[in-house]
Each structure stands twice: as C-alpha cells, then as structure tokens.
C-alpha cells in the first residue's frame, strides 16, 4: 500500500504536553474490567518468568516495573541475571544488556557458556546461540562510567525504537557523576529510571552491590544495598543473590559438609505487585556456570522453556 506522508500542521509536542493531565486523570470505573481480571481471570498475563520451575508461580517480571538485583561482590548476581536473560529471550521478550563492568564479548561469552551447558561451547553451538538470540538480545557497547542522563536516554531509545522489554543495567553505581554518598542524586536517577519503566512498559533490571559486610557467611538483606536507603523503597522488586561460602569453603578444604544444602539463595525481599517473598535455594553447576533448582550433575537446557511459563 502506498503511504502518503505530509508535513504536520499541528505543534504535536505542545499538544501532547497540554493534554497530558487530561489523559492521565481517569475515573475509577475505567479500571473495573482490569480489577475483575486481577481477581478472576487466571489467564491474565503475569509477567515474564525466570528459568526455574519453582520460581514460575512466585516471581515474575511484570511490564513497567523496576527490579533491583543486589548481593555481595562475587556472589553471582550477573550470572543469575545472565541465565535469566536467556530465558527471557526464549519467551520472546527482547533484552538489552548494559554491562558497564564487562566487555560485551565477555558478557555474551558467559551467557553463551550457560546456554551451552558446558565449560567450552563448540563453535557450532556459538553460531546456533547467535541465531537463537539474534535480534532478541542487544548489548550496549560501552564500558566504564556513563552519565546518568545518557543512560536514561539510552533506556528510552531501547524501549521506543528497539522495542526492548527488559533493560539490564549492571551496575547502577557505574552511572557517572553520582558519588556513592550523593543520596539525593541517586534518588533522582532512580526516580527517572522508574518513570521510563512506567511510561514505556519496559521492565528495568538494576544491579547494585551490597555494602561490605563483616563476613559473607550470612545473606544480606534489602537494608544492605549500597547507597541511598531510598533505593529499595523506589523499586518494585528486590532480589538478592547470596552464595553459600561456608559450604564452598568446607568442600574446597575437604571438610565434612551437607551436599543437600543449597550452594546459593535467591532471596526475594520485596515484590510490590506480587504476594510472594521468600528464599529460593539454588545449586551451582560449575562447568556451565548455571544455577540449578536442584543438586544435579546436569545443567538445564535453557533453550527449552518449562511449560509453566505459559
């Protein structure tokens, strides 16, 4: 069909700004069908799922929300998130990863290793991985500090132009111009992130480190997130990844330990629009760097989604 595009005779920006409040303030009855769905329609969309069966009914990444991923340095936040990104792609949810602490090549190699289920994926598998992820997984080719306003613009671009459904910022503190103790600017930056999520429907995942603790043997909570205390207040969901270092140490030193104890915990400390909060035990598969939902010698096939996602 031919398209006829002509000059616009309306000041579109001015019109949209002038009518914004009128559009946003709506009567309660507008939402009644959605409220009925909320209580009675089990088919109603629940959000994207994580890779594990046991998280499918308790943790979901709903559109327009912000999830904070926290945990101590080296406890596997990025690995759990990488594994989750593969599962999001398999649900046809386009992902963009802005990993400011790692080269895109390394970020992708780690995710590819998880998807391959082995230590060193074959060339053939890597090509298949490329085909499967294709345009569904985007990477922001930038390392080091990025100005906060540039990051906000990037998020908006990804949502609008690239139809990204999940944006991963790893990590929050790498967004420049904001000092560790500049709580006011951190709050403002996160407020902007929440606005982008809410306005665009994109789910934004933010990685933030926990404060240095006396030891790593007990899991940190949402109060231990580095930076402003308001960070956890502003976001919709808080997930903490904690590795069971005492079990690892005992195993490494050949001491007695309980293999049934999990290698890691995924702790949901907050879920604004979901009822569940609690701990998901996970077991680490060293070759693939995957986290499994049970102690197993075999990694998960991330390309085969469980039926509970539907």
């Amino acid at each position: 069909m031919a398209e006829f595009i002509i000059d616009d005779d309306i000041d579109f920006d001015a019109y949209m700004q002038a009518t914004e409040s009128d559009h946003r303030v709506v009567s309660a009855d507008t939402f009644i069908d959605e409220v009925i769905d909320y209580f009675h329609n089990e088919e109603a969309p629940k959000g994207a799922a994580m890779p594990w069966q046991k998280t499918a009914n308790v943790i979901r990444f709903r559109q327009g929300e912000v999830t904070l991923w926290t945990g101590m340095n080296g406890h596997g936040k990025s690995l759990v998130l990488g594994q989750t990104c593969v599962s999001l792609v398999m649900q046809k949810e386009r992902v963009c990863i802005a990993s400011l602490e790692m080269k895109p090549k390394v970020t992708l190699a780690r995710i590819c290793r998880q998807a391959s289920m082995e230590r060193k994926p074959s060339t053939e598998f890597i090509r298949t991985f490329g085909e499967v992820t294709g345009s569904w997984m985007l990477l922001y080719d930038q390392q080091g500090t990025v100005q906060a306003d540039k990051m906000i613009a990037l998020m908006r671009y990804c949502a609008v132009k690239r139809e990204v459904k999940h944006f991963v910022l790893d990590s929050f503190m790498k967004c420049g111009g904001i000092a560790d103790d500049d709580y006011t600017r951190q709050k403002f930056f996160l407020d902007q992130i929440c606005s982008v999520a809410r306005d665009s429907g994109m789910h934004i995942h933010i990685v933030a480190h926990s404060r240095k603790a006396k030891d790593e043997l007990s899991p940190p909570g949402k109060m231990d997130v580095k930076g402003s205390g308001s960070i956890t207040d502003q976001v919709d969901n808080v997930l903490t990844v904690w590795r069971n270092k005492s079990k690892e140490r005992a195993r490494d030193e050949g001491k007695a330990h309980d293999e049934s104890e999990p290698d890691a915990l995924l702790i949901c400390d907050k879920q604004r629009n979901g009822e569940w909060e609690g701990r998901i035990p996970l077991w680490f598969h060293p070759d693939s760097q995957q986290f499994l939902e049970q102690d197993s010698a075999h990694a998960m096939d991330l390309f085969r989604p469980p039926v509970t996602w539907i």
């Binding site: 069909m1 398209e3 579109f12 769905d37 969309p45 609008v160």
Partner: protein, 126 residues
C-alpha cells in the same frame, strides 16, 4: 500485547513521525490482534482497555477505524477518535456485503453520516 501495557499497537511509530514534523494523510486503526502493520496501520488488541488508550497521537488526522462487527468496543474507540481526529470513518467488515457498512464523523459538521452504497447510506443522522 499485554493488558498492563495498554497502548495502541504501532502508535510509537506515529508519535516519532509527528515529533519529526510529519503526518500521514490517512491512517487505519484496526480492531484486531496480530495484525501485520505498515507505517500507517495501527491496531487495538482485544485485551486493550479502550478507556485507558492514548488516542492523542491521532490529533488532526483522517482515520479509518475498522472492526469486524459493531459493538461497545468499536463504539468506544470511535468516540475517543472523534475527540481528536479531523475525520473518522468506522467500517464493520461483516457488514460490507450489505452495502451499508459504517459511520463517518467530520470535525466541524453536525452528526454522523452513514457510509456505504445502500440507498440512503449518505443520509444525515442525528
């Protein structure tokens, strides 16, 4: 589209076009799902909450709204479009063989006009 992302499918392209100072001479809004859309086609998914949809990007445009059958949802979408568009024609595809298949609104003229080939189709209505 999911109900919690309540938006007219494809509208972001229209917003980008208009922010760049351009507009299509005519657009088509289809009340359907899984539509293959061109730059001037937009879709309202069956799960969308019409009352919450933002029709403002259609301000000043000539719009053809197509739905399979008449009903509350096309009526609500038609009313919302009439608030912003210069003209709106609503067509019901199930009625096409009958020759009298919809209604037309033109800003600045009173009432609605029937659309179609049947006798009296262009009759002015209240």
């Amino acid at each position: 589209m999911r109900a919690d992302q309540n938006e007219i499918v494809g509208v972001k392209r229209l917003i980008a076009m208009r922010e760049a100072g351009n507009k299509p001479e005519i657009v088509f809004v289809l009340m359907t799902s899984s539509a293959r859309l061109t730059r001037i086609d937009f879709a309202i998914e069956p799960s969308a909450n019409i009352a919450r949809l933002d029709f403002r990007p259609f301000v000043g445009l000539n719009v053809v709204l197509m739905a399979r059958t008449a009903g509350d949802r096309p009526r609500a979408a038609f009313r919302k479009l009439c608030e912003v568009a210069d003209s709106v024609v609503v067509c019901f595809t199930d009625k096409l063989p009958e020759g009298d298949y919809g209604w037309r609104f033109v800003r600045g003229t009173p009432g609605l006009r029937r659309v179609g080939d049947a006798p009296g189709a262009a009759m002015e209505t209240a």
